[in-house]
Symmetry: C2
Subunit: 220 residues, 2 copies
């Protein structure tokens, strides 16, 4: 079973995964729920960690803790990080460029295999062996070389059209940086959408600053 079921949040599992990578890099072969919590800056209680891991079927040794390597592997499996994912980035401005560069440098299982833009100044550029194509060709190109995930890094006005184009091209998931609500009508194979709103993230901070007090740290 891949789906952890209920009571387990994916962002938390990813945080564990990242912390375990760090622990492994530091040479630790075993880790307790308590020390894992410390690695996460005490944002998650040890009990919560144990509940999550237990629900995943990842068991530790009482009195000792969890074996780092198999646990990390198990989490990677649950998160879908044990296979390769093909990504198409639409909108190759600063943001698209930054995303492609960042994700390529850091995660080997994610490969950016298609780039699209509308501007004639950008179309035709080559980035790490990938040529930027015109958005008008998106559907045709993706028909030839399918992608799992589409990243929308275009201005808000264009985002909805791009989303529909991506959905029509067989993309199954969309990461949207445009500050718009994408209206996805239900299709046969549903498209999973996740939004990253940079201005929205900032407002969370400004709200906190306006209120002025409250706990010191917050997790994303």
């Amino acid at each position: 079973m891949i789906d952890p079921g209920f009571g387990v949040s994916i962002p938390r599992l990813y945080a564990y995964h990242r912390a375990l990578q760090q622990a492994a890099a530091e040479g630790k072969s075993t880790i307790t729920s308590h020390s894992l919590a410390a690695l996460l800056g005490q944002t998650i209680a040890p009990t919560q960690i144990r509940k999550d891991l237990c629900a995943l079927g990842a068991h530790g040794r009482r009195g000792h803790g969890y074996a780092v390597k198999p646990l990390r592997g198990h989490l990677a499996w649950v998160l879908g990080l044990e296979r390769d994912w093909r990504i198409a980035v639409v909108g190759f401005g600063y943001l698209g460029h930054a995303f492609a560069t960042f994700i390529t440098a850091r995660e080997t299982r994610f490969s950016v295999v298609s780039l699209f833009d509308r501007s004639p100044h950008v179309v035709g550029q080559v980035w790490q062996g990938v040529r930027v194509r015109d958005v008008a060709q998106l559907q045709r190109v993706l028909r030839g070389t399918p992608c799992d995930i589409g990243v929308i890094a275009v201005p808000s006005q264009a985002a909805q059209d791009v989303a529909e184009l991506l959905a029509a091209s067989g993309v199954r998931a969309i990461l949207n940086f445009a500050p718009t609500t994408l209206q996805m009508r239900a299709t046969q194979t549903p498209v999973v959408v996740r939004n990253i709103d940079l201005a929205g993230e900032l407002s969370i901070l400004t709200h906190r600053l306006s209120v002025g007090s409250m706990p010191a740290v917050e997790e994303a």
Copy 2:
């Protein structure tokens, strides 16, 4: 009272704010909880919206809906978006550059007033009238021209140091793009931290794709 209290989530309030901007741009002067929900792609139930707004003290007219303009103003006030905020971006690689450009173009109340980098190739560059300084000078520069918010767009290894530097320089909030848990020790004036983990956002999608089914849309 600025703090909405409890049961009200800030991301949701920001979503309302954005939807109301859109409604205002479309010329609507009044809006119902139901049509607001439609603008948000039905991700939030009308009842939820009413509860939230009511908790904020924003009242509508029964039988008609809410007045767009004052409601938007009220939300902006609660979110802290009615004053200007000074931002320092640390790490002026692709990501820092993209963030600065994006936020400057889109939000007038956020101004990027300081840029820092470590690389001699980048230090000295001028972006929209702002000269990129060496990170070594961060504390000195910010002493002269204080900032409210620091954005960390440096590699993971450097993130912790930068965070401490920012905290020591009077920054009250941090937006962190580095995939690391920042260990903030409690200070007199607490520093609010918010993390944006791009690889983490992708894993949420890959997890969903691995599981394979489930509802069509998800909100960030």
